[in-house]
Symmetry: C2
């Protein structure tokens, strides 16, 4: 949790953090500033002290909404530094970091640098920082980083936001089911609109985006993929594809708060009108795997054990898996789930390839078994988002029915 | 342009490029792959050869739409490397880069690393790469990078996409004007909806987002800021703020193609019903400055000269500027413009702080003078997006009227 930052810094022997931000939405900025809408900021945090936010003068008004102490680049003399550097932005930047670190009382020690940025820039910049400030160790971090670790467990405010996004997302899924069910099937089994034109994947996606918007959510590239496309877990679906009865549709919706913020992540598989036997059989296996995963869950338990239970089941049912056939594109080809928060994919991971993660109270995680048979023209997946309560219970935030078939009205009698 | 990549590599003595991608939208990915929807990819380009795209197996179907040669991580043996590394993702990643570079024929020489990623990760990763492959120089780049330079000039396909986004954005601005003008003023000069409730900044923003969506565009955090908020150039505006007659409203809209892509960037300043004399006077100065900037433009000319013409004018009119009073928050506080493409802010910059940029055919740039008086409760800005044609002409992509006042219907007679 956010309140663990000093403890996590101690564990890494870090005297300070510098978090960089570019022009894009930044999860770490959101995490530390209550989601203010700024860019090109620096956030500095000394161990044991509250963070300092440094922004351009034009961002000042927004930045103050963070509740943090705020200084501008100009306050700290950036323009003089730029002049002294003869207009060289890189040199001025190096000098400015020294000044900003001094502002929080750091002239030596270990400084962890975090955030998302242009890799090419920071390769150059870190080399220059190290040269300019030999008394300071500038360090990065891979693997389970300080912020990954903090974000593993959500506080009450975060859970409240996640629940709100979840309720709105479920309501959009319900609206989408009703939208599709409100159409009719033509004689050739295509889904048609009242004016007789076919209903496409693009039409459905536009409907979904509008419904999200009405609820203050934004799409982040949903999957609505039919038939063979559904057989590739990350195929987004083709906008021009006409909806047809009897094809599996994988609908994976992972919107977030408008403008950036907390995510939801859920998947349903639907067949319009009826389900072919092969799709139904795979779907039954996936539903069983989903229920097994929920059963196998336990607070404190290693996450890979739950994935392994699912792998055992799928393999016993005769499916290839990412364990039995590494790299396979048929069968159960991915991990069982992941953490969700200000990032769509967070720790813990729930995969046989990662032995060290455990479930713990405050986790917000997906469970999402699936089976993929692109050559047979289908794929199926089911995914709910769960929180692990303080009591160690697994509670779904995605209470939407898992029916496979959307019943359709009979076709209009021919005119 | 994209076709200049080999020339730009030669100028930097680069034998190869590696472009990294995370889970978010990546402008460089879009630039090199025709905008396919993938994540966690690596793109490698040897000098003189076409790029190679490496993705996870689940992304294969989408990745093939790029038209590039595609391999999966599994194809290149990532899973074996992970096993050999005892599950250490970082070690396996270092080994994989060696294998991927060998795949394009690179075992020594200079390799430029580009793209957006987690800075903390790459600080660690680059150190390890350098240690593991001493025959390869892994270099970054700051300042005007290879891709900044390529993107300075747009090709015909890019200009066509920019024009299409421009037309749709202008149509949304028109619709927003009509939407506001379709309301009435109450006796207290607030703008009211047909049911008598006040019209807020949040209502207008939701309207704008819906209109963008209908046209296949997405908002990227528009500014619709009234009164004192308009006096801070980057204040987004407060959602609960009720629209009132006689306040300056800065409406800066910079949407992009849905899901990531080319941007438009334009600003209008509006006063509902009437403009107070101080706002009108500042607006007249800004319009004059805008026209001066268009006049001062010339293909081949240094960009800072145009900013300096505008600075001279504003200073002669008695306004403080970022040149006369560095760091000021009153008067003309920012640069005159910037390039626009797959990033909202690209080179060339049009500022007195950057002497080296020149205008050239294929540029797509904004001109956006503004004046800010937050203590007096207003700010004004006008911004169009332009392309520089092959003939060196400056052509606006933003043909929307620059009227300050939105005329309103008279108030309803009291019941």
């Amino acid at each position: 949790m956010k309140t663990d930052l000093d403890r996590l810094m101690s564990a890494r022997r870090l005297d300070a953090l510098v978090i960089v931000g570019g022009e894009d939405y930044s999860p770490l900025r959101d995490y530390l500033t209550q989601g203010v809408h700024i860019g090109r900021e620096l956030i500095l945090k000394k161990h044991g002290a509250a963070p300092l936010l440094i922004v351009g003068g034009m961002e000042l008004d927004e930045a103050r909404k963070s509740g943090l102490a705020v200084r501008t680049y100009a306050d700290l003399g950036y323009l003089d530094l730029l002049q002294s550097a003869g207009g060289d932005v890189l040199k001025a930047g190096v000098a400015f970091w020294g000044r900003a670190l001094a502002e929080i009382g750091i002239t030596s020690g270990r400084v962890g640098v975090y955030g998302r940025g242009d890799v090419n820039y920071f390769i150059v910049f870190i080399d220059l920082l190290r040269e300019a400030y030999p008394a300071v160790q500038f360090v990065g971090e891979a693997g389970l980083t300080l912020f990954d670790e903090a974000m593993l467990t959500k506080d009450e405010d975060e859970i409240a936001r996640l629940k709100s996004v979840a309720e709105r997302t479920v309501s959009v899924i319900e609206a989408t089911w009703n939208y599709i069910a409100g159409h009719r099937l033509a004689a050739d089994e295509t889904v048609v609109q009242p004016d007789g034109t076919p209903l496409t994947v693009g039409d459905v996606k536009r409907f979904v985006i509008r419904e999200l918007l009405e609820r203050g959510l934004e799409d982040t590239d949903m999957i609505f993929a039919q038939g063979r496309d559904a057989g590739y877990p990350h195929s987004r679906g083709a906008a021009g594809d006409v909806l047809r009865a009897g094809r599996s549709i994988v609908f994976d919706l992972f919107p977030r708060e408008m403008g950036g913020g907390y995510y939801h992540d859920m998947t349903r598989t639907w067949c319009i009108g009826y389900a072919p036997p092969a799709v139904q059989a795979a779907y039954d296996d996936v539903l069983t795997a989903f229920e097994m995963a929920v059963e196998a869950f336990g607070a404190g338990k290693k996450t890979h054990l739950v994935q392994e239970a699912v792998l055992n089941y799928f393999e016993a049912r005769g499916h290839q898996t990412a364990r039995s056939h590494p790299g396979t594109l048929e069968g159960y080809v991915h991990s069982l789930g992941h953490g969700v928060g200000l990032n769509i994919h967070e720790r813990p991971g729930i995969t046989h390839l990662r032995q060290e993660d455990s479930f713990q109270p405050g986790n917000c995680i997906t469970l999402e078994p699936g089976l993929y048979y692109p050559e047979q023209g289908f794929g199926v997946r089911v995914e709910d988002l769960f929180v692990v309560t303080a009591a160690g219970e697994l509670v779904s935030l995605t209470p939407f029915r898992k029916d496979l078939v959307i019943p359709m009205l009979p076709a209009e009698p021919p005119a």
